[in-house]
Symmetry: C2
Subunit: 313 residues, 2 copies
């Protein structure tokens, strides 16, 4: 998946790398004081003189997701819910999977389960693992996205990612119940060995490219996952899916013509509204992805406009 990095506070043009709507925006480190330095300033302890550059702070999204108790708890809540749901389904096999059938739009129904082996299907980046090594390096060095560097990360980053909170325990319980864990990720087919090593080093067990690991380049869909999902659902009864962005569930949600508002509408109304938290499990990732889009008018309803008295809107 191509990622688009935003240099916080700069007017520089973005480095676009064949960006599709599955591209994303990463925030670079902010140069402002961290809240801890601010607290120190408030207490009157020694601080650098105001005209010296302060060390960069991580972007707020990284502080929340990777650093805070709250980000860990939000993630673990989702892993626990997914595990409970999948174990219940495993004990009472469904007739249909949670993978949408190939067909126009999202009303085509679901792929049948027949007597295929049970599986839970995961995205990898910021769904199974947190890409700590690369995310820190880009943010701390205030660097924009560089696909060559990200490819190197895919190849050499094993051991520098972490399993997300709750993931190791979830996969252990699911596998113990006879459920196959399958990953469908936009990491690249030509770095498959690095991704296999990364997932293993994170404590998530073994994945085999083409059997339990599906990558961008496996077919001609590029970063679109529908084709790979169809391949997977032809072999497995997929009882739950997990991801951090809508393309991990269906490509229809990332159609380029959709505004953020339209995209939100089609993903949260029938027939898919019933799936969230009950077959489709969405992990919070406020750092990058097609969710990180929109002007103020895109994301705020007009009727919520407010201003204090001293300032006219």
């Amino acid at each position: 998946m191509h990622r688009l990095f935003r240099k916080t506070g700069a007017l520089s043009a973005l480095a676009l790398t064949g960006m599709t709507l599955s591209g994303c925006v990463l925030q670079a480190a902010s140069a402002v004081p961290s809240i801890m330095q601010a607290a120190a300033a408030a207490r009157g302890t020694r601080q650098p003189a105001p005209d010296l550059p302060l060390p960069p702070s991580p972007p707020a999204g990284q502080q929340w997701l990777y650093g805070s108790a709250e980000g860990t708890i939000a993630t673990r809540q989702t892993y626990d819910a997914l595990t409970r749901f999948a174990l219940a389904r495993a004990a009472d096999r469904p007739a249909q999977s949670v993978v949408l059938s190939d067909g126009p739009g999202i009303d085509a129904g679901f792929m049948p389960c027949d007597d295929k082996p049970l599986a839970v299907l995961f995205d990898a980046d910021e769904t199974l693992i947190w890409n700590l090594g690369a995310m820190r390096w880009f943010a701390e060095n205030d660097r924009e996205f560089d696909p060559a560097i990200w490819s190197e990360w895919e190849r050499t980053g094993a051991g520098k990612s972490a399993a997300m909170p709750g993931a190791v325990e979830a996969l252990q319980k699911l596998r113990a119940a006879g459920i196959t864990i399958v990953a469908n990720t936009n990491r690249r087919a030509d770095t498959a060995a690095g991704t296999v090593a990364t997932l293993r080093a994170a404590g998530l067990g073994d994945f085999e490219h083409g059997r339990t690991l599906f990558l961008s380049g496996d077919d001609d869909g590029g970063s679109k996952k529908d084709g790979r999902r169809a391949t997977i659902a032809a072999q497995y009864c997929v009882i739950a899916m997990a991801g951090d962005q809508l393309g991990d569930f269906s490509d229809v949600f990332n159609a380029p013509s959709l505004s953020p508002r339209e995209r939100k509408l089609i993903a949260t109304r029938p027939p898919v509204d019933q799936l969230w938290g009950a077959g489709w499990f969405l992990f919070a990732n406020p750092l990058y992805g097609p969710s990180i889009r929109g002007t103020f008018d895109d994301i705020y309803p007009a009727e919520s406009r407010w201003a204090p008295d001293a300032d006219a809107p």
Copy 2:
């Protein structure tokens, strides 16, 4: 709750307003092109000349939480889980509430339920409602936190907040099951009428200060909520709690001496680890709060350090 706003990219000193560790950081708008403008640039459509300032983009956290399908889905998943849990508990009254007893640390057990009326206890800001009007105004005007403006927002913002996705339906179902909805918020006692109006205008029903609405200033605990929780749990059998930061559950997690790493540890290990998603429900809020803290070393484990070959770490 005092909030600390971070001016993205500026080295200006932060305006500290009696900040405690329950203070928080809000990101101001970034001046960089939005991903949509970047896409337009990629397609070669007409763009402002590079040396003209581009209109500000919302912070990524706001794009994710307020604007994206993903932020809405993550929120709705949590509301659905809370509702299912609370309805099950209502049908099978517990002996204990989910409010920790007053006592040293978090091992003191829970307040008893006896035959008190059932209740679910909610924080308000970014737990029941999204503060769209004020959040947009501060970000779009690149303004730092101003407690006078936030007080004005509490007084006059009714109708400019929105109920969070899933909240209206959840409260309807819980109330229909005989559960009292109680809010414990750090909005101020002296703006109680504005907060009552805000919650009503958001479609969340009626709240009564001192009976179903508890505010900062109701006791001498300031922004610490334990005292108010004890008051509430003396009257109600609290079967579930909801919030967006750890102080919504117990003040012990916001002790000023705790590093982000320590805070994460005590909130995610026994005895409280079992509560998350099963009595205590945490809503994703990557925009502000005590979760938005930490240096790179605070939030990234040392063993995750990585660099591409061309750059030594």
